[in-house]
């Protein structure tokens, strides 16, 4: 188990704790329209499956919403 901060909340990820697993854990239906940053660095879609997230890292999974001028 790896504990990370996923979109601001403490979450446990089962091994292998990849970015892809983190994305699924957010409940994003599929990855379309979604992007990920780990500790403030973007992890390109192509590397989700092969990028491990480590204990205590900050994972942000974002998508487009209404907003802004």
């Amino acid at each position: 188990m790896t504990v990370v901060t996923l979109n601001g909340e403490q979450r446990e990820l089962h091994e292998p704790a990849t970015v892809e697993a983190a994305v699924l854990a957010t409940g994003a239906p599929d990855g379309r329209g979604v992007a990920v940053a780990v500790d403030g660095e973007v992890v390109p879609r192509g590397k989700w499956a092969t990028t491990q997230v480590r204990e205590g890292q900050q994972v942000e999974v974002l998508h487009a919403v209404q907003g802004g001028a």
Partner: protein
């Protein structure tokens, strides 16, 4: 102000760009978007919310608009740059409306952080449309940094105060070698017309439409106002003159007094 409106080589029919913040729901947004005639709509990047219904990207595309991600909510160059890169990865576009806010009460841009972010993103291959203050020097620095358009504010986001400093806007337009898009502050139709008459190439509208009592009707009004202001500038307005200019012929005036009393003479003598 040329009559072809191009940003970074991409021609646009509509001179109205839609901001999507503030609409009650996606349905109203889509209806207003259609009515506005806009081709581009800005979107923000936020944490995935599984409970959210409907994808804004799909709704906008159905309505025939393309998505322009912004960096709304970012207070530093670093946050803004990362947000732009996330948007590129999520939405497959290297266009970004760059916002770097300096204060959460006025949401005015931070000039130094904005310039840094613009330079970084341009270097990284982005097409950067910066939301900037009405400072003509900052606007030029952003153009010098490689931004293919500048987006000065009229007044703070959502304030509806219109254009607080028409003089600065005029300077920006005079000096700009890239399109000038008025961003933020518009409250009603005449504000948008004024911006176009001042020589802006386009206007970005969010709250003025989305928070109007009837967003769809306001979208239509704004579309007409922007066209009106743009066409009026092209049509060549009359000069402002200090005194009146009779629009009726002075010759051929009848003598109808049957003996003119003092009154009209006095009147005609003027001051």
């Amino acid at each position: 102000m040329s009559d072809i409106f191009e940003i970074a080589g991409r021609a646009l029919e509509s001179r109205l760009i839609l901001g999507t913040g503030g609409f009650r729901n996606l349905q109203v947004m889509a209806a207003a978007a259609r009515e506005s005639g806009a081709e581009l709509a800005t979107v923000a990047m936020r944490r995935v919310d599984p409970s959210a219904r409907g994808s804004i990207v799909e709704v906008l595309e159905e309505a025939g608009l393309e998505v322009l991600p912004n960096t709304a909510g970012c207070f530093t160059a670093r946050e803004a740059v990362t947000t732009a890169k996330l948007a590129r990865d999520a939405l497959g576009t290297d266009w970004v409306k760059l916002e770097v806010i300096g204060d959460d009460r006025t949401l005015l841009p931070d000039p130094a952080e904005l310039l840094v972010a613009a330079e970084e993103l341009v270097a990284d291959g982005f097409t950067v449309l910066p939301y900037t203050s009405d400072d003509p020097i900052l606007a030029r620095r952003l153009e010098d940094a490689g931004c293919p358009a500048v987006m000065p504010l009229g007044s703070p986001i959502g304030s509806g105060m219109g254009i607080n400093n028409p003089y600065n806007l005029r300077l920006i337009v005079e000096q700009a070698g890239v399109p000038v898009i008025l961003d933020a502050g518009v409250g009603t139709a005449s504000d948008a017309a004024l911006a176009m008459e001042a020589g802006c190439d386009a206007v970005l509208l969010a709250s003025a439409i989305s928070r109007a009592a009837d967003p769809v009707a306001m979208a239509r009004a704004m579309r007409k106002a922007i066209e009106a202001g743009h066409e009026a500038r092209a049509a060549g307005r009359i000069p402002r003159r200090l005194y009146a200019q009779a629009s009726s012929p002075e010759e051929g005036l009848a003598e109808l007094e049957g003996g003119a009393p003092a009154a009209p003479e006095r009147a005609r003598s003027g001051s």
